[in-house]
């Protein structure tokens, strides 16, 4: 499979102190790592694409490590995660699906074998297209306080022959979470769900 050609890399860190309510003792932080790569399958239908997932593994690990570093370096601080991809218009949605395995496993590995499935989304779009990356708790998908999302996008990407890859990590619940449901303190941590 072809080598990964990187054009751009972006790190975004967001700190939320409040949203009209009491100021949080420690602000919620969300971080996104974005990478813009060449889509080796753009412009034609290629039946066999799955091998490219393995080529993306090192990039996934690098992005996951960069996120932890952007949040201060301690993986234990990370409580939520998500991933996504925007495929440029000469590519297929299926090319975005190549990111599920390398993106997801990279974060789970860096976060000490996190148990929950990594929430994800993907779409085809042009430069400037925005993506709402869904976020859930890293060990139990049903933790309601950690259902969140982070909007990402890059003014000049993805070009037609590119894919924009995204990983997102957060350090806690929504800043004024108060709609009940399973709490992080109640996680059993066996099945990745509760």
């Amino acid at each position: 499979m072809p080598e990964v050609q990187l054009r751009k890399r972006i790190i975004v860190v967001e700190e939320v102190f409040h949203e009209g309510g009491p100021v949080a003792a420690s602000p919620l932080r969300r971080a996104a790592a974005l990478a813009v790569i060449h889509n080796p399958f753009a412009g034609k239908y290629v039946p066999e694409i799955a091998g490219f997932m393995e080529d993306l593994n090192p990039l996934g690990l690098e992005m996951a490590k960069a996120l932890v570093a952007a949040l201060g370096g301690d993986p234990k601080i990370v409580e939520g995660y998500g991933k996504g991809a925007i495929v440029g218009q000469a590519g297929e949605l299926e090319h975005g699906a190549l990111w599920h395995v390398p993106g997801g496993y990279a974060m789970r590995e860096i976060l000490g074998n996190a148990k929950a499935i990594v929430a994800s989304t993907k779409k085809v779009g042009g430069p400037g297209t925005r993506l709402d990356v869904p976020i859930t708790h890293i060990n139990a998908s049903y933790v309601r306080s950690h259902f969140d999302s982070m909007e990402v996008g890059i003014a000049d990407a993805p070009k037609a022959n590119e894919i924009l890859l995204a990983l997102v990590m957060t350090t806690g619940p929504r800043v004024h979470a108060r709609v009940g449901g399973l709490k992080a303190s109640e996680i059993k941590g066996q099945d990745g769900l509760r």
């Binding site: 054009r7 967001e14 003014a155």
Partner: protein, 194 residues
């Protein structure tokens, strides 16, 4: 601190290639942005001193955060810019009060020098509005390789009574500059222009 901050965002962008040609070392730029309460939203206030003082606080905070995100000493920064977006209940003049009278001094203190005008832009808008922060060389405004801009946006800001304030700092110019003009090697650095 006088400034009431709801959120802080940090963006770091690296360009590794353009048109398949490697950019070595990658060009890097960072923007730090704060979402703050607009103390004058909703009515006409003649004396904008409070916003000028807020500008002074943000000049220091955001420049320090942007430089830290690049991991460089302030003196190694090459170009800079500033911008603000005022929520719908505020005036364009509120952005001017933050950006122009007092914000520049702490920016220059953090970056060591900064003989050149800090290029700026401002607008009024709603949540998610794109802010294009103009960039110019910090010691000589005519350095053509460093004429640039950086787009940022925050999906939930500015709300009606808020202002989004951003400062961008780079350690480089455009990725593959080749349109001539004054080069950074030719800077005299006396008048802020050449």
């Amino acid at each position: 601190m006088k400034t009431k901050i709801r959120k802080i965002l940090i963006f770091v962008e690296e360009t590794h290639s353009e048109m398949g040609k490697h950019v070595n070392p990658p060009t890097r730029r960072a923007a730090a942005a704060a979402v703050i309460e607009n103390p004058f939203a909703g009515n006409y206030v003649e004396d904008l001193t409070e916003l000028m003082e807020i500008g002074e606080e943000l000049g220091q905070l955001l420049t320090e955060r942007a430089v830290a995100a690049l991991g460089i000493p302030g003196a190694s920064a090459e170009s800079y810019g500033k911008a603000a977006a005022v929520g719908e209940n505020g005036e364009l003049e509120h952005a001017a009060a933050i950006l122009h009278p007092k914000l520049g001094t702490p920016v220059r203190k953090t970056l060591g020098k900064g003989a050149a005008l800090i290029p700026s832009s401002k607008k009024r808008g709603g949540p998610g509005v794109a802010l294009d922060i103009p960039l110019g060389h910090k010691d000589a405004a005519f350095v053509r390789s460093h004429f640039d801009g950086m787009e940022i946006r925050v999906n939930d800001a500015p709300r009606a009574n808020e202002i989004l304030v951003a400062i961008a700092v780079t350690d480089s110019g455009r990725p593959l500059p080749r349109v001539g003009g004054l080069t950074k090697a030719q800077i005299k650095g006396e008048d802020g222009l050449r």
